[in-house]
């Protein structure tokens, strides 16, 4: 299958629905993400058979069964390694890794930081519900400090990972954030992720209605959401708020909220988002913003183009082939020191 083969096709989201009954709890945030991925794939227009959707284990990891593409529901934590193998073996596939906060950051943490470091061209959709859903409610590496769960009956004593910080710490070239209840924005974010060359990590804040209901409520609750959600776009000003008059500015090396029209602040004082800046400093600050003090950033926070692992490998192989005298096993076997017995 050559690149030329990959023409834009006409699809609808329904073309990506498999015949399997979706088994998540009613109200689970995963439903919306499924919907958004199906829309994104339809919109991208790549041939359906070129998608491989690869997951680990968890509620969210049931995802591939519901997709009418090639799919692999693997073992807990290993989706990153398996997806890396699939993509390296066949760089023409569009590989989507589906994973949870437990799957990617607990048992799968090593594969996660290494796929990010290698910059394999994968789309990593990390469903962060801050809990182990499938095993019925134990704390995860993203569970908020102090939270009581089945394995922390007296409250956790662990600081959670910040997904963006960890991604950038591992040298990530792409980090974005989406929200289960904003399907339209999530769809666009997934499309951006697919378009990025390299490991595209998308943290999706999803709600587990059963074991961690309302864990993202500070951000999603109706009353405050406009004031606590900042939608970033490359090249656009970082403006948000109910009245669309709040902005993010840099003050002595730190981000702060300013109000346009107050204290002489104008739009010019507000930062313009530069997702393509190779320096990760501002991206790190943006991805670390937490409510209620600051708004939480959504959309593509960082997207820096560089070479990808699987393409670099292909290129190296082509160079080596061109430079080598050996092109078959027969040539290899007969190369170097040999002798004849007659």
């Amino acid at each position: 299958m050559s690149e030329a083969n990959i023409n834009v096709q006409q699809y609808t989201a329904a073309d990506f629905k498999s015949d399997q009954e979706v088994r998540w709890c009613p109200g689970c945030g995963d439903h919306a993400v499924l919907n958004a991925v199906q829309r994104a794939m339809a919109e991208l227009g790549k041939p359906k058979e070129n998608y491989a959707v690869i997951s680990g284990i968890g509620c969210s990891s049931r995802f591939p069964y519901y997709m009418n593409t090639y799919g692999f529901h693997s073992i807990h934590g290993r989706a990153g390694a398996i997806a890396s193998g699939t993509k390296t073996a066949n760089p023409n596939l569009s590989v989507w890794q589906i994973t949870g906060d437990g799957d990617a950051l607990a048992i799968g943490g090593n594969h996660f930081i290494h796929e990010v470091r290698r910059n394999v061209n994968l789309n990593v959709l990390l469903f962060n519900n801050e809990i182990y859903g499938l095993t019925k409610g134990q704390y995860s590496p993203t569970t908020k400090f102090g939270k009581k769960t089945k394995t922390s009956p007296y409250g956790t004593i662990e600081q959670p990972f910040k997904v963006g910080q960890l991604t950038l710490g591992a040298g990530g070239t792409f980090f974005a954030r989406a929200l289960d209840n904003n399907i339209k924005h999530a769809t666009q974010t997934f499309i951006e992720a697919e378009k990025h060359n390299g490991t595209s990590v998308v943290e999706i804040l999803v709600n587990c209605v059963i074991y961690a209901d309302q864990t993202h409520a500070l951000i999603t609750d109706k009353e405050h959401k406009e004031d606590r959600q900042l939608y970033l776009e490359h090249g656009k000003k970082m403006i948000f708020g109910k009245d669309n008059n709040k902005g993010i500015a840099l003050d002595h090396g730190r981000l702060k909220i300013v109000t346009i029209g107050e204290d002489g602040i104008t739009e010019a004082d507000v930062l313009t988002h530069d997702a393509k800046n190779p320096d990760p400093t501002i991206h790190m600050m943006l991805s670390n913003m937490q409510a209620p003090e600051m708004p939480v950033a959504f959309g593509v926070i960082r997207s820096v183009d560089t070479f990808t692992y699987e393409k670099a490998l292909e290129a190296r192989i082509e160079e080596t082939k061109a430079a080598s005298k050996i092109h078959s096993m027969d040539e290899l076997l007969n190369s170097g020191e040999t002798w004849k017995v007659e």
Binding site: M67, I82, G85, T88, A89, K321, I326, H327
Partner: protein, 613 residues
């Protein structure tokens, strides 16, 4: 040279080159081996590195050795004991004392006999010969360093460089001893140091000096080992790890698929990864993963994508791969897992050999999770068994474990080069584009049980696989109790069915008799020699060496049943014997076991087997 008058003809000879890690003993050994092979001898070699990268100079821990066994007959092992020991310093003497054949020849550099060196080597006196009770041996105290310096006094080289060619002096002595030419060695110098003619000349000079020295030492015997009757053809020397890597490459070529190797370095398996990494010219992709789990998982991902995928490791790494191996079993994806066994348990003796991962290979996965297990038995046949492992994996859609071990992985032997056209084509059952009725877990009517492989990217074959139990035929998730039994049985039947690819078990010696010696994998050579010698002594003993462990050859019970007694000899505490008890309870199995990180010696085997004769 009247000395050459009384040349002794020998069937086979073992030389052990030993010295400090920096003394170049591996090169010396290899050059001698090449000369012997070119001359027409059969050969087998084994290097013996110190466990540390650079142990302190002059200590026993820092001794590096290289043993070569060459002969006019078929050579099966690098030999138990050395006819000739070359020991470049007192530590090498100390370390190898136990490996000299009774009355053998010892050539040592007397210039290294200093108090400091004796101390470092752990001698209590300044007379190592007496202290090691070598009086009855043919000990040649050669002034190697002095004569090397002498030979190169006009070379213009500095002292350090001069002393670096000491090993060529020792090699020259050995060439004289065994009446060898050194044309090939000279060629090697040209090829290797061509850009530094000074070095080429120096090496040639010292080699010649050693040769001449030996001509004048009357205590030195003169041997001749005639060429062996070896199958005609073109040969190359190959180590087990190299042969494994190349066998996998060969399977990929015959399957017309890219080779993907997802691995994490671990002694003594690392070289397989390295040999494959060199072969980007053949399109091989190596993925040096972050750990063993990622090694096998990237391979599983590559297998899903349609490559011929392999992962290579040693025991502790296999332990880490077992969960994912189970995933390959239930998803029925082709995959070769190579385990180069080493001394265990845990980190154990990483640079030593052992056969103690057999039950791990068979039983380490959770649940009922069968897969084929194959074992190679010599450096060269690692090629063949790696190829077969790939063939079985790809044609039967199953993970396969290939067992080798430190002994054959590091050892080298000549391999006859067969043209690739003599190997069978490998034909996986691919599902075809446009097959609107593709059933991921459908089984063909030919009884082979092999599901069809649908490669992502192929139009119309979109489907989902995974680690949950799946409904027969369709492959969708199923919790139906009876279906679990059906799938459990189908997975077992599929592995059992691999027996169609397994040749009948051969017996070396008569087809029946008093005693059958049973072995598997890498002990082949030692067991073979022991049985040969016992047969020469008139005993009714035969030998069966198993390469196919699961499934076992069809005629196994038949073979076992033809002997009055059976003894199973293994480098573990009895794992294959127990496996035979499970499979063929009707026979009685005696055992001979050794867990010392070392191969058997022919001598100990003969002694052990005589008890049953």
């Amino acid at each position: 040279m009247d000395k050459k008058a009384n040349v002794v003809e020998k069937e086979a000879v073992v030389i052990r080159f030993s010295g400090d890690s920096g003394d170049g003993m591996q090169l010396t050994g290899n050059l001698f081996t090449d000369e012997s092979a070119l001359f027409g001898n059969d050969v087998a070699t084994f290097p013996d590195y110190p466990a540390e990268i650079r142990a302190p100079q002059g200590t026993v821990g820092g001794v590096s050795g290289f043993q070569v066994h060459f002969g006019k007959r078929k050579i099966h092992t690098p030999g138990d004991y050395a006819d000739v020991l070359v020991a470049m310093n007192p530590a090498a003497l100390m370390a190898n004392r136990r490996w000299i054949k009774k009355g053998g020849t010892v050539i040592t550099d007397v210039d290294t006999f200093t108090e400091k060196n004796f101390l470092k080597a752990g001698f209590k006196t300044d007379d190592p010969i007496t202290e090691l009770k070598l009086e009855d041996y043919n000990v040649i105290l050669a002034p190697v360093s002095t004569l090397t310096k002498e030979a190169l006094k006009d070379s213009g080289l500095d002292n350090k460089s001069i002393l670096r060619s000491k090993n060529m002096f020792a090699l020259g002595i050995c060439y004289n001893l065994f009446d060898k030419s050194f044309e090939n060695t000279f060629n090697y110098f040209e090829r290797k140091f061509g850009k530094k003619p000074q070095i080429v000349e120096a090496n040639k000079k010292v080699l010649q000096a050693g040769y001449d020295y030996a001509s004048n030492v009357h205590a030195l015997p003169s041997y001749r080992v005639e060429p062996a009757k070896i199958e005609k053809g073109k040969y190359r020397s190959i180590s087990g790890n190299q042969a494994t890597a190349w066998g996998l490459l060969a399977a990929a070529e015959k399957a017309n698929l890219p080779l993907f190797c997802g691995s994490y370095p671990i002694t003594p398996a690392t070289e397989i990864l390295q040999y494959i990494a060199e072969r980007q010219d053949l399109g091989a992709k190596t993925f040096q993963a972050e750990d063993e789990i990622a090694g096998i998982c990237t391979a599983i991902g590559a297998s899903f994508a349609g490559n011929f995928a392999v992962t290579t490791t040693s025991g502790p790494g296999l332990a880490l791969k077992t969960e994912a191996a189970g995933l390959a079993v239930i998803t029925e994806l082709p995959l070769v897992i190579v385990d180069v066994q080493r001394g265990g348990p845990s980190t154990g003796l990483p640079t030593k050999t052992e056969q103690a991962d057999l039950l791990q290979a068979l039983y380490s996965r959770n649940g009922e999770s069968p897969l084929p297990v194959i074992a190679a038995s010599s450096p060269a046949d690692c090629f063949e068994y790696a190829f077969q492992a790939g063939r079985i994996a790809l044609e039967h859609m199953t993970p396969v474990i290939l067992l080798t071990d430190g002994f054959i992985a590091n050892g080298t032997a000549p391999m006859r080069i067969k043209p690739m056209s003599e190997y069978p084509t490998i034909t996986p059952r691919f599902a075809k584009e446009g097959n609107s009725n593709y059933q991921p877990y459908g089984r063909p009517s030919d009884g082979s049980m092999t599901r069809e492989w649908a490669i992502p990217g192929t139009k119309g074959l979109e489907h989902r696989i995974g680690g949950l139990e799946k409904m027969a035929v369709t492959g969708t998730v199923s919790y139906v109790p009876e279906n679990h039994q059906v799938m459990t049985d189908e997975r077992q039947a599929k592995v059992d069915q691999v027996v169609v690819k397994v040749p009948d078990q051969e017996v070396i010696g008569d087809a029946s008799g008093d005693l059958l010696v049973v072995g598997w994998g890498s002990t082949y050579g030692h067991l073979h020699d022991a049985v040969d010698e016992l047969r020469t002594e008139g005993h009714k003993v035969s030998f069966a060496n198993f390469n196919y462990i699961n499934p076992l050859p069809k005629n196994t019970a038949d073979v076992l049943g033809r002997f009055k007694k059976i003894v199973v000899a293994e480098l573990n505490s009895g794992q294959f014997a127990n496996y035979l008890r499970i499979n063929f309870q009707q026979f009685e199995y005696n055992q001979y076991n050794k867990v010392q990180g070392l191969p058997f010696t022919v001598e100990e085997l003969k002694e052990a087997f005589k008890k049953y004769l």
